[in-house]
């Protein structure tokens, strides 16, 4: 193909978006709506996930050590804990600290007058990364030399793990359903767009246009529509998300104050989201045009 022909076909494709502005508007509108729905579902599940992960990190396991352990043996327990896979951090909690903590908590000072810190064992407070593996981690710690007991919040762990997997499954499910619905709607919109121009395609065939000559402007048109839709959807969702966060900040509800640090900033996923929108827009626009134009090329 001659360079000037290629230039002509590209210009024709871009012009077609504006020439057929009503159908272009419909196609872009449908794509934008679908992308916004999917983007919102992703942002929502990411935020829920972030909050659940934060809650998960608040776990605390107390590892009680044998009274007979000397400083060296206690250090060995610390090394063992630090070397355990699922553990984020290990903090020593001495019997003296435990004694002071209990005194403060119970409040009845005279009750502790005749007692010493020896009534409590030395302990380590540890936090685990993945609550789903809590039971295995506890079992592993209980097997270490010098460990007499491990107190772990297994009930809460089960609930958090369940919430997390529910959010994950629901998130993927919602996005998948929206994606299928979006594809069906978009496919029909492109089909109508091409159907409206079947005569044009037919004329091109009779003046001797090759299939690639006919297809290229449609592909360019699909590309432009896909990219425009991606850009619109991206900026709309960005603006709406920022507006929502500002509104939540202004309201300062208890729930917001509790989790404000866990809200995912839009900047964290902006690049990925734009990439996904643009990729999906181009794929759908170009792919849809190619599939549906094909039908009318068989003349």
């Amino acid at each position: 193909m001659r360079g000037s022909s290629l230039g002509y076909l590209i210009r024709t494709g871009v012009k077609s978006v504006f020439r057929n502005r009503l159908m272009s508007f419909a196609a872009i509108g449908v794509l934008v709506a679908c992308m916004i729905l999917i983007g919102a579902a992703i942002l929502f599940s990411m935020n829920i996930n972030s909050i659940v992960e934060f809650t998960e990190e608040q776990n605390e396991i107390v590892v009680f050590c044998d009274d007979s352990l000397d400083a060296q043996a206690l250090a060995r327990v610390s090394d063992d804990l630090n070397a355990t896979d699922n553990i984020i951090d290990v903090v020593f909690f001495s019997r003296e600290e435990a004694f002071e903590y209990m005194k403060e908590r119970i409040g009845a000072e005279n009750l502790f007058e005749e007692l010493t810190a020896d009534i409590y064992p030395d302990a380590y407070k540890v936090r685990v990364k993945n609550l789903g593996q809590l039971e295995e981690t506890v079992a592993q710690i209980e097997g270490y030399d010098g460990v007499i007991q491990v107190n772990a919040p297994t009930d809460i762990a089960d609930v958090v793990v369940e919430i997390k997997s529910a959010v994950y499954v629901a998130g993927i499910g919602i996005v998948a359903i929206l994606a299928v619905v979006a594809l069906v709607i978009i496919a029909n919109t492109i089909k109508i767009t091409v159907f409206n121009r079947r005569k044009e395609i037919n004329i091109m065939k009779f003046v001797g246009a090759t299939d690639s000559f006919i297809r290229l402007p449609f592909i360019i048109e699909g590309l432009v529509i896909g990219l425009l839709a991606a850009a619109f959807a991206f900026f709309i969702i960005w603006g709406a998300y920022d507006y929502l966060i500002t509104w939540l900040e202004g309201n300062q509800s208890m729930l917001y104050r509790q989790f404000q640090d866990q809200i995912v900033p839009f900047g964290n996923i902006a690049l990925e989201m734009f990439g996904a929108f643009a990729g999906a827009g181009v794929f759908i626009g170009v792919g849809g045009s190619m599939i549906f134009v094909r039908k009318y090329l068989r003349v």
Binding site: M1, E200, I203, F206, V207
Partner: protein
């Protein structure tokens, strides 16, 4: 130029559209093909344009065997023809100039040659002053002249006109056929399908009559036009 040898066409629905057509049209001829609705004229045109292939028999146009033609070769074959349809088939989003230029663009003609050729062809059909008009701003006769200009612009050896006067006034019909007559005078073969007997009678050219998918009569075979 055109050879039909015992061409039969049966559609998947079971309709027998052509029942053994044999005809030969030489280079430089002007031939009217006439027949009632359902006689097989449309199928015959589809064969000439390689829109359909025969169930049996042989179709040759411009020296090419259309039965054996591969799909990707069809556009190159169609560039050797000029086609005019009853419904004009102009691209509604392009102006007159662009509609005519389009037939050149698909054949990779340079921009410079397009600028030279299109105004010349538009002058032949008397529409230079309407170059920037859109198809919906033209009368039926004018639209058909644009379609004729588009068919001519590639300098084809053969023009196929499928009821080109079917959608225009009788006085303008004469004008269109007269234009085709002029084109034929410089050596272009013309095959025109029509059911307007008055026009056929006025121009005194070879007439092939089709009925029930067969050649009923051919004035050439009868020894005169």
């Amino acid at each position: 130029m055109i050879n039909f040898t015992d061409v039969k066409k049966v559609y998947p629905s079971g309709t027998h559209a052509l029942n053994g057509i044999t005809m030969h049209i030489d280079k430089g001829e002007f031939v009217f093909i006439v027949g009632a609705s359902g006689a097989g004229k449309s199928t015959l045109i589809k064969m000439l344009l390689r829109e359909e292939v025969p169930t049996s028999g042989l179709v040759e146009v411009n020296g090419m065997n259309l039965n054996k033609m591969r799909r990707r070769k069809i556009p190159y074959f169609r560039r050797t023809l000029g086609v005019v349809f009853q419904d004009f088939r102009l691209i509604p989003t392009m102006n007159v100039y662009e509609n005519v230029a389009f037939a050149l663009r698909v054949t990779n003609v340079s921009g410079r040659d397009i600028k030279r050729r299109v105004p010349y062809i538009l002058s032949l059909v008397g529409l230079v002053h309407k170059a920037k008009a859109m198809p919906d701003q033209l009368s039926g006769g004018e639209q058909q002249r644009v379609a004729l200009a588009r068919a001519l612009v590639n300098n084809p050896a053969l023009i196929i006109a499928d009821e080109p006067t079917g959608n225009i006034d009788p006085e303008l019909s004469f004008e269109i056929v007269d234009l085709l007559n002029e084109i034929n005078r410089v050596g272009t073969t013309i095959v025109m399908v029509t059911h307007e007997h008055d026009l056929v009678a006025q121009f005194q050219r070879r007439v092939i009559t089709i009925e029930n998918g067969r050649v009923l009569s051919d004035t050439a075979a009868m020894g005169g036009y």
